[in-house]
């Protein structure tokens, strides 16, 4: 009993994690680990650095930043739901200037790889954000959060319309350093996520991040009103994992070589493995950090072990492995069946 009582970190007797090349290649960005944080679930890395070394994971994906400081929505901003949660934060943040001076500078000094997530209300705002980031150091890639209402199109969400999604990506591409990898973050709340992916790829996206939250709602049985002050919110956590895996699978099927960052409800290394097998080159870990602040590092180690157990020498070999053709032995059996008939 006393051993369990004081145990911290890996249990005694745990063997070292077997060697697997965990390098993730996202079209030119090489990351030593395929595990990233998810935007909005790690702020700008400082807080999580208290729980694990943030330079040991693939990258910190920062909270989506806008041009101006932003207060976000009134509270309540969250509701716990079965194996997940709803959030309606409303992109509270310091604005790009303070973000660059305060957060990005800290991340660079700390030596963490950083993917900067940007968000805007108009195509022009995204363009300006990209232009601001062009002149700063310490950005490994830009993730474009297009799950924002387009004020110039009656609040229609960019990510839900192939043309608006494409115009945002085009603008970001045009105003960024030509070598800067651009990831378009897609919303699952669409009829055909593959056609949105096709549209952003045509517009110049280096890759895609899938998925953002699903729109949901909770009614409070006591007040008999919507629980969130923002009425609706984004659903995240293990509850959405099968939806996310399906999205990654569909996009990988349509684009055999497109860099994909998969996310949605990853809690363990085996969950991360599911995304990799479905076609993700890297994964982001979001809501589960609220449950377990050291989850990103733990998931990296669990994924490494899971890959080793399955005989993979490198992460790259496992990407999209679930798409392989049916096993040859099965065909031989069919032949035998045919002969004996």
């Amino acid at each position: 009993m006393t051993r369990a009582l004081i145990s911290q970190g890996p249990m005694p007797g745990d063997s070292a994690v077997p060697f697997v090349d965990m390098t993730a290649d996202l079209a030119g960005v090489e990351l030593p680990s395929p595990v990233l944080t998810a935007s909005g679930c790690a702020a700008a890395g400082r807080e999580l650095d208290q729980f694990f070394d943030i330079t040991s994971i693939g990258a910190i994906v920062t909270k989506s930043v806008m041009l101006q400081p932003r207060s976000g929505r009134p509270t309540p901003r969250m509701a716990e739901t079965p194996s997940g949660m709803l959030n309606s934060i409303g992109l509270q943040g310091p604005g790009i200037d303070r973000f660059i001076d305060h957060d990005l500078a800290w991340l660079a000094d700390r030596g963490a790889r950083t993917v900067v997530s940007i968000a805007g209300g108009t195509v022009d705002e995204y363009a300006k954000l990209a232009a601001r980031l062009r002149i700063v150091r310490g950005v490994s890639a830009i993730e474009v959060n297009i799950s924002c209402p387009n004020v110039e199109d009656r609040g229609q969400v960019f990510a839900c319309d192939p043309n608006s999604a494409a115009s945002v990506i085009q603008a970001v591409k045009r105003h960024s350093d030509p070598r800067m990898p651009i990831f378009a973050k897609l919303s699952p709340d669409v009829t055909d996520i593959v056609s949105i992916a096709a549209s952003v790829v045509r517009a110049g996206a280096t890759g895609v991040s899938v998925i953002n939250t699903l729109l949901g709602m909770v009614i409070n049985a006591d007040t008999m009103r919507p629980h969130l002050a923002g009425v609706t919110g984004g659903l995240s956590g293990p509850a959405i994992r099968p939806v996310a895996v399906r999205c990654v699978w569909q996009i990988r099927q349509a684009f055999p070589d497109l860099p994909i960052i998969g996310m949605g409800g990853i809690r363990t290394g085996l969950d991360a493995l599911e995304f990799v097998l479905a076609g993700a080159n890297a994964v982001s870990v979001g809501t589960v950090v609220f449950h377990d602040p050291s989850a990103p590092l733990r998931i990296h180690e669990e994924l490494q072990r899971a890959l080793a157990e399955r005989g993979f020498g490198s992460l790259a070999d496992a990407v999209g492995y679930a798409h392989r053709p049916p096993d040859v032995t099965a065909e031989v059996d069919d032949d035998l069946d045919f002969i004996t008939e």
Partner: protein
């Protein structure tokens, strides 16, 4: 700096309407100051309740057979707190802490009044001890809806110069609210600082009473939290900064203890229009 540890239940005992949960918490108890809180993982590793629950640290012991231990006082509210009070000795509990900014202690030997509503008295024990060690006079006011929901009256009586109790139903002490007796007490002891923990309306009134007397107030707020460590922005409330600008600050990271005169109590749950980055017309675009 907070740490995450695998603790274990040492003991769980009833105290009126509450349960006091004692946990081994190596590495946390040593760093704890009055007003800090912990978050506890609920339902084990495969739990469908993903979000940790926050509790004020009631007592700590940093030495002894178990290394560091800590106590929290739990009022059953919903599924998560129900799960916690159903734990048994030796059950594992994942603990993160100490979290938040603790109470600020006065440099001089001034008179301090401590106000606790319901389980809000939990963090006041350590505070009273430390204030006493500094030579401060400590007077305590405890309030609850009914006698059962008062926590720790006997022990606080030992730590305080005076203890005043109020209950809404008059089952113990004076019938009424803590804030009914607070003004008179403040005047009598010439209170320089009020420390308060309890429901928001109580904190609002405490802050007003202090401000009317040009006394300081230190209020520990309770806002719904998803992460408890400052990464998600769910737990915000409008706070006026030293520059006079209102910002939506995280109660888990910049709080839970705030100066009472800095909180825009009446507007908690809203974004006051003059907040930094407030929406223009018709909400955020």
């Amino acid at each position: 700096m907070p740490v995450q540890v695998k603790g274990q239940v040492l003991d769980i005992r009833r105290a009126g309407a509450y349960q006091v949960l004692s946990l081994t918490a190596p590495g946390i108890s040593e760093l704890t100051r009055p007003g800090h809180f912990v978050t506890l993982g609920i339902g084990g590793e495969e739990s469908s309740m993903l979000l940790r629950r926050a509790f004020a640290i009631h007592q700590v012991q940093s030495r002894g057979v178990y290394g560091g231990t800590l106590d929290v006082v739990i009022g059953v509210h919903g599924k998560g707190t129900r799960w916690l009070v159903d734990r048994r000795r030796h059950d594992p509990i994942d603990i993160v802490g100490p979290l938040g900014r603790p109470f600020v202690l006065p440099k001089e030997r001034v008179a301090c009044v401590l106000v606790g509503g319901g389980y809000g008295s939990a963090p006041l024990f350590m505070l009273a001890e430390q204030l006493r060690e500094r030579g401060c006079r400590v007077d305590v006011v405890l309030g609850a809806s009914t006698e059962e929901k008062l926590f720790g009256a006997l022990e606080l009586k030992r730590l305080a110069s005076t203890l005043t109790i109020t209950t809404d139903d008059g089952s113990l002490g004076e019938r009424g609210r803590v804030t009914d007796v607070l003004p008179e007490l403040m005047d009598r002891v010439d209170g320089a600082v009020v420390y308060a923990c309890g429901p928001m309306p109580m904190l609002q009134r405490v802050a007003e009473v202090a401000q009317e007397r040009q006394a300081y107030s230190q209020c520990a707020v309770e806002e719904a939290m998803a992460c408890g460590i400052g990464v998600c922005m769910t737990c915000v409330l409008p706070i006026v900064g030293e520059d006079g600008v209102t910002r939506m600050l995280r109660s888990c990271a910049e709080g839970p203890v705030f100066r009472g005169d800095r909180v825009r109590w009446a507007e908690v749950g809203t974004i006051p229009p003059d907040t930094l980055g407030a929406p223009t017309e018709g909400g955020h675009r």
